[in-house]
């Protein structure tokens, strides 16, 4: 039984506070997010807003560079792991390496570190989401502390009483995750272009073309959902 978990330090940007940060810092932080998971789209507004001299070209440079680095890392690690162990590649590739291999042992520490320190970052994203849903505008320290204790207790209790939430996680992840990455941005872009007083020809064309990425997201979501359902059958 292997464990596949996409470590998800969601909403990292808000707590780190990227206001007015340089392009290089922004690239680094984006890499942190993208390296861990490719779902970062709901952080995109913060990235754009808090980028120093935030223009669309600068923002696209940051996005292109950071995703490029991360994709390179993804592809190289996937390929190297497979080329080393072939058909016996384990669900967690580090499991394949010898316990006597100190070089690889160090990398296991990095994974553990990433896990521990990503938790509060992900938690803040959840807490902000709840505050948003509750339409809380004034965030007093007492309220924030109470909410933190309450939500953390709630999640901890869920983690204890639910023996296996893999289906919910994989099903919701593949459907909602794909919606956030492919479908929602496409819909929002189409809506935004329609509301533009005088959209350019390129914008009009792109608003039609993004339907393709939305459809791709639907297919990806369907694949993920089917895999999730298959896992419980």
């Amino acid at each position: 039984m292997a464990l596949f978990v996409l470590v998800c330090p969601t909403a990292v940007v808000a707590p780190i506070g990227l206001r007015g940060v340089s392009t290089l810092t922004c690239i680094l932080v984006t890499c942190i997010l993208v390296t861990c998971i490719l779902v970062t789209d709901f952080n995109a507004p913060k990235f754009y807003t808090e980028l120093k001299d935030n223009t669309v070209p600068r923002y696209m440079t940051v996005v292109g560079t950071s995703f490029g680095i991360s994709i390179g890392l993804f592809a190289s690690m996937a390929a190297l792991g497979f080329l080393t162990f072939g058909g016996n590649s384990a669900g967690l590739i580090l499991s394949n390496y010898s316990p006597k291999d100190t070089l690889m042992g160090i990398s296991k520490i990095a994974v553990a570190l990433s896990l521990v320190f990503s938790y509060p970052l992900a938690f803040v994203g959840f807490r902000d989401g709840v505050l948003d849903l509750l339409k809380v505008k004034e965030r007093k320290p007492a309220l924030m502390n109470s909410l933190t204790v309450g939500l953390l207790s709630f999640v901890t209790l869920l983690a204890l009483i639910i023996p296996d939430v893999s289906f919910v996680l994989s099903f919701a992840g593949s459907t909602l995750g794909n919606a956030l990455v492919y479908i929602f941005p496409a819909l929002m872009f189409r809506g935004a272009v329609k509301k533009q007083p005088s959209p350019s020809k390129l914008q009009k064309f792109e608003s039609k073309a993004v339907v393709g990425t939305a459809l791709f997201g639907l297919i990806m979501g369907a694949v993920g959902a089917v895999k999730a359902i298959q896992s419980i059958m």
Binding site: C8, G17, C31, I32, F42, A79, G91, S174, L180, K195
Partner: protein, 314 residues
């Protein structure tokens, strides 16, 4: 090798003195947890003493900062930055290191999406050329994700929105903006639920490796949550954690370099340095299904992994 016989003397120490009903005997030597070689018992004792001492000193710090004998949130950041907690974290890392390196069966402890991708390739092929379409698929999906990320930022530029919900409201209407708000909240809730479950298992295993006893997750997870996660989550400014997050990502880069080195030096081939260290099911195995395997239905497994936010316990 961990031994159940050694454990009773070390059961329940200081703050970690648990009722015996929460303590079960360590699994026998045929189970996963005990298959690895562990350090000498004195080493485990030292590590456990470190963590115990660190927990105590952290709590002392907490009370030190709790001036005037009431909880003041203004001091939460100072507490977390106390050197004692730093020491605590280092102790935990040391134990993690000791356990993870000492135990070849790391499955069920921690995982990361990128580290599961080789298994995704292995699901549809077993010849080296299978890596070619896989890399292309990773790049393609990554590029589409980047496009989506860019698109969201451009929507913000057009609508002057500063949040995801606001961008939705400005482009598609405020009435339906609850869809994006609920999606984001539910998605992050799923993520931290997974985190909690993994952390519970991780620390249960670490403590088992350190003490020789397996404590119930009902004891381990609340303890970790209250002792470590809660103070960190109560930080007003989490920027102090940024260097650690960056360290984690740089660790991934290090991992890639280490994997490259092990590949080019052929350390895991039959005649390689570590070729004979592994169990048969972990040794390199190559067959004849190469790039053409991408047309196999099993390639959907890799697609599923790349399908964002896909969390699955198989």
């Amino acid at each position: 090798m961990l031994s159940p016989q050694k454990s009773p003397n070390r059961k329940g120490r200081g703050l970690l003195q648990f009722p015996s009903k929460f303590v079960s005997t360590y699994p026998d030597k045929d189970t996963d947890l005990s298959t690895g070689e562990d350090g000498p018992s004195s080493h485990r004792f030292y590590l456990f003493a470190c963590i115990d001492l660190a927990v105590k000193s952290s709590i002392v710090s907490l009370f030190w900062n709790e001036k005037k004998r009431h909880w003041n949130p203004e001091y939460s950041e100072q507490f977390v930055l106390q050197p004692s907690l730093f020491f605590y974290i280092l102790a935990r890392v040391a134990i993690t290191h000791s356990y993870l390196i000492g135990n070849p069966v790391v499955k069920g402890i921690v995982g990361a999406g990128v580290l599961s991708l080789p298994a995704g390739i292995a699901a549809f092929g077993n010849a080296p050329s299978a890596a070619v379409p896989a890399v292309a698929l990773i790049a393609f999906i990554g590029a589409l994700s980047a496009y989506g990320f860019g698109l969201t930022g451009r929507v913000c530029a057009m609508t002057k929105a500063t949040t995801y919900r606001a961008a939705w409201a400005e482009s598609l209407g405020a009435k339906s903006s609850w869809i994006s708000a609920w999606t984001v909240t539910f998605k992050t809730c799923c993520a931290i639920l997974a985190y909690s479950m993994i952390l519970g298992e991780t620390f249960q295993s670490i403590i088992a490796a350190a003490t020789g006893n397996v404590f119930s997750t009902w004891l381990v997870l609340p303890t970790i949550t209250a002792g470590v996660l809660l103070p960190l989550c109560m930080l007003k400014n989490l920027s102090s954690l940024a260097p650690f997050s960056l360290l984690g990502s740089l660790g991934m880069l290090y991992t890639a370099i280490a994997m490259f080195w092990r590949y080019i030096t052929k350390a895991y081939t039959v005649s390689g340095k570590f070729g004979s260290d592994l169990a048969p099911h972990l040794r390199p195995a190559f067959g004849s299904i190469g790039a053409s395997g991408i047309f196999n239905a099993k390639s959907a497994i890799l697609l599923g992994m790349l399908s964002t936010a896909y969390m699955a316990r198989k």
